[in-house]
Amino acid sequence: MKILNSEILSNERYGPDIYKMEIFAPHIVKNVGAGQFVNIRCCSPDKRDPLLRRPFSVFDVEKKFNVFSILYRVRGKGTRYMSELKKGDTVNMAGPLGKPVEPVSLKGNLLLIGGGMGIAPLNLISRIAADEGKKVSVLAGFKDSSLLMWERDLMRMGVKYRMFSEDGSWGQQGLVCDHILDEPKVLRDHDIFCCGPVEMLKVLQRELEREDIRATAILEEKMGCGIGVCNGCVVKVKKKDGIDYLRVCREGPAFELSEVIFD
């Protein structure tokens, strides 16, 4: 593995404060699995601010062109720096990192439940599954309609979806978990992957537990290194013999939802 300066092919607005960056990177495209991420240095090499790399899920890949993309929201100085990069600039990046999520879907059907920017890794899962001819359904919840462009991407992948927004400006008004247990039998037919804010995952965990339905959660945590050396990015997980702290960047980012302890 190498840290490479890879060329940016495009870096365009995807929504208010949201950008999609396409990067030419054969080594990522060749090796990436669903759920994996890249770790990006967000300043020129002689600067120490911001100091740490920033992790971003791989959003999509275009095998033929050796191109992959990330979808990111501008939150602070790291993502602001990224948003100012232009086509032809390079981005200093390591990856793919994290454990790819399990070979997709024994059941043949996939249900992806996303909240906000949590849709980023779900998009790649969807892409891979769709390419393999699996049936994919998406349930996703948002504050507003700022990720509306995603609908087009899903349509192109031929994926079934249902959207919720808190302000009612996109899809149904409400939260994605509101009706999650309406049809438990359908849920049981699917391999479920979810990613989103902790609040959403907590509700999902509680609801799915009631019907004893399994799901794979893709988690985020502040990272020191992204490669498993610092033990900085741990989440608390139930194990037979008590609790354990597992690294999102190494044992994760995918965990069995029921085992995660959010506190």
């Binding site: 300066n5 120490r48 290194c225 490669i227 050396v229 990015c233």
Partner: protein
């Protein structure tokens, strides 16, 4: 190493001919008491795990040595998350010495490390001198595989508000003594910047038979989430590392090395070869690369090459030239 769309651009990135480094390769080896290293670059404890991950980025056997994560007698789960927080030119961590325990290290990680081929400094931690002694005992069988044992007397993340052994020189002495009495391989005492007694602690370590001082561990620090009123670390306070603390680390290195008590392995915020030279000029015999490993995964290799290039450029054929060269 640019990954570019147009292959022919890669062609232009070849080394300029005539810059053959090897022909006048400088002598990079250093000696720290009985510890001989092929160069002064040591990976810091806790920032390199046991080397496996960084091996994906370069051949870690080029390093002077790799210090392992600090191992304790029993496995430790570490502190609750969040454990990491970025600060201006630095970072806070409150890992809390999460580790698999010395037995697992010896049974599984050590073999991996031997395969990777870097010199091994085994960092250990105990809650008192008795526990240090017990850990040392386990090492007896594998002592041939390691260059030295580093005693972490300075982790700010296990006791309240960052107090650690090295707050008390007599504790330093007791612990070093306990380990030296068990193990006849070189012992390094790692001290912290949080106490103003490094000279006394180093004296104590020397009296008890330590071979060198590692300096500095992280500085006690904190950050607060203004929106939630919560500390940004699960453990409230944590340890500050990275370029932010480099001036503090350099001052400590200078102040201690000048006393000529024990050789110093200087660390704290080193990010490039010039930082290495600063520490050596200030008195360090070797240096530790810490936080930089979390960010530039191939820093060890890159800094080594840059150092060698610099020595060649300056016509200096020996890295030891720099140690303590400061002109006052």
């Amino acid at each position: 190493m640019t990954d570019r769309l147009f292959k022919w651009e890669k062609e232009n990135e070849k080394d300029v001919p005539g810059e053959e480094r090897s022909s006048r390769k400088p002598d990079m080896s250093v000696e720290i008491g009985r510890i001989g290293l092929k160069n002064p670059l040591v990976a810091c404890s806790g920032t390199f795990s046991h080397g496996e991950e960084h091996s994906n980025f370069y051949d870690i056997s080029v390093l002077g040595a790799v210090t392992t994560k600090s191992y304790s007698l029993k496995p430790r789960k570490g502190n609750p998350p969040p454990r990491i927080c970025e600060t201006p030119a630095g970072m806070l961590n409150s890992i809390g010495l999460q580790n698999d325990g010395i037995d697992v290290f010896i049974k599984s990680h050590l073999a991996q490390m031997k395969k990777d081929g870097a010199g091994i400094i085994l960092s250990i931690f105990g809650k008192d001198s008795e526990e240090f002694k017990k850990v040392a005992l386990r090492i007896l069988d594998v002592k041939a595989d390691i260059i030295a044992v580093e005693l972490n007397l300075s982790c700010p993340n296990v006791e309240k508000d960052g107090t650690s052994f090295c707050a008390f020189p007599e504790e330093v002495k007791k612990v070093v003594d306990a380990v030296v009495s068990m193990l006849d391989i070189p012992v390094i005492a790692k001290l912290s910047p949080n106490h103003d007694n490094i000279i006394q602690s180093a004296e104590a370590a020397k009296q008890a038979g330590a071979e060198a001082i590692s300096l500095i561990n992280t500085a006690v620090g904190m950050a607060v989430d203004v929106e939630t009123y919560r500390p940004l670390l699960g453990n409230i306070t944590g340890g500050l590392s990275g370029p932010a603390i480099k001036p503090i680390a350099l001052a400590k290195t200078y102040i201690l090395a000048r006393e000529n008590i024990l050789p110093v392995i200087g660390m704290g915020g080193i990010f490039d070869y010039r930082d290495v030279l600063e520490f050596m000029i200030a008195g360090a015999s070797a240096v530790g690369l810490g936080t930089v490993n979390l960010i530039e995964y191939d820093a060890g290799e890159k800094i080594l090459l840059d150092l060698e290039d610099y020595l060649v450029k300056k016509n200096i054929n020996n890295i030891r030239h720099f140690t303590g060269r400061i002109r006052i």
